[in-house]
């Protein structure tokens, strides 16, 4: 929805010619904001979870707990980068969201083949089953949104 309006407005802007280009795009960009909201919630809750685990006993399960910390950082970076949406920040968002997808798949597979490694849960264990599988769906939606909101793609069409 957001990029549809953007597409329309790009053509409108071209019709204005070389005079003053008026940006008629609405400040809202719809579903992307919901995605950023969900990323934000995950950033905060993953940070809280990692903090709790590290405060209580970091040595209890170093792998699972450091994984929690890594996922918290990835969610936080992805949230900021998606919300900023600048040229360089979009690259950061691509990297963060791709890392997130690779992470949730790797940890999901490893936690079912080598459960002894993941006796303590992290956000990505069992493909994020503890969080209603949202951690597995979120990076797919994130990558789709990155593709859909890409300025290069919008300009081409």
């Amino acid at each position: 929805m957001g990029s549809d309006t953007a597409e329309r407005d790009v053509t409108e802007n071209e019709q204005v010619g070389d005079g003053q280009v008026e940006d008629t795009r609405r400040p809202a960009y719809g579903p992307g904001r919901v995605l950023i909201f969900v990323y934000g919630v995950f950033a905060v809750s993953a940070t809280a979870r990692a903090s709790v685990q590290l405060i209580r006993n970091a040595a209890e399960a170093p792998l699972a707990y450091s994984l929690s910390a890594v996922s918290a950082v990835v969610y936080a970076v992805a949230t900021v980068a998606l919300a900023h949406n600048g040229r360089r920040m979009r690259r950061v968002a691509w990297v963060a969201v791709t890392f997130e997808l690779v992470g949730v798949i790797t940890v999901g597979i490893l936690s079912s083949t080598h459960p002894e490694l993941f006796q303590h849960d992290s956000v990505w264990s069992r493909f994020g089953a503890g969080y209603g599988y949202v951690p597995a769906v979120l990076p797919v939606l994130g990558l789709f949104w990155m593709w859909r909101s890409s300025p290069a793609r919008i300009a081409q069409t």
Partner: protein, 150 residues
């Protein structure tokens, strides 16, 4: 709401029968916590349904919904104060850090949805509010589990 707990505490202080009183204290609080959590879950689900109706009608979040959210926030604050008093007066929460972590994060979810509501004046702010309310309901259920130590 506090009365049975305070009564137990007083009798405990008087030095009558300490051990049975403690076990009674636990069960009494469980009922009240269930009631509090139930009320908050019901409120967030109601707000979520309201947001769903507005999403279906292609409408953004309105101020009245944010006021409803503020009422839920106040409810969480009251919950935190009551939980704090009960913990201070001797109730044992098995995973105390996790318990407080959930309450603090629960406090942040609706303000974040309010920020989305202010900057995103389309139906998508209503979608964000639905997700916030669903998150809050799930978190309250976890709070309930953690309080009783399940």
């Amino acid at each position: 709401m506090l009365s049975p707990g305070w009564a137990d505490r007083r009798s405990g202080r008087a030095g009558a029968t300490v051990v049975p009183v403690r076990s009674a204290r636990r069960t009494d609080y469980a009922a009240q916590v269930t009631l509090t959590v139930g009320a908050l879950v019901a409120c967030s689900l109601a707000l979520g349904v309201w947001a769903a109706v507005r999403t279906a009608r292609d409408q953004p979040v309105i101020t009245r919904q944010l006021i409803g959210g503020a009422v839920i926030e106040a409810g969480i604050l009251v919950q935190m104060v009551v939980a704090g008093v009960l913990v201070a007066t001797g109730h044992q929460v098995p995973e105390a850090v996790t318990f407080w972590g959930y309450l603090v994060v629960a406090l942040l979810v609706l303000p974040a949805a309010a920020v989305v509501a202010v900057i995103e004046r389309t139906r998508w702010s209503s979608v964000a509010l639905i997700l916030a309310c669903a998150t809050l309901a799930v978190m309250q259920l976890r709070v309930h589990q953690l309080w009783s130590g399940a």
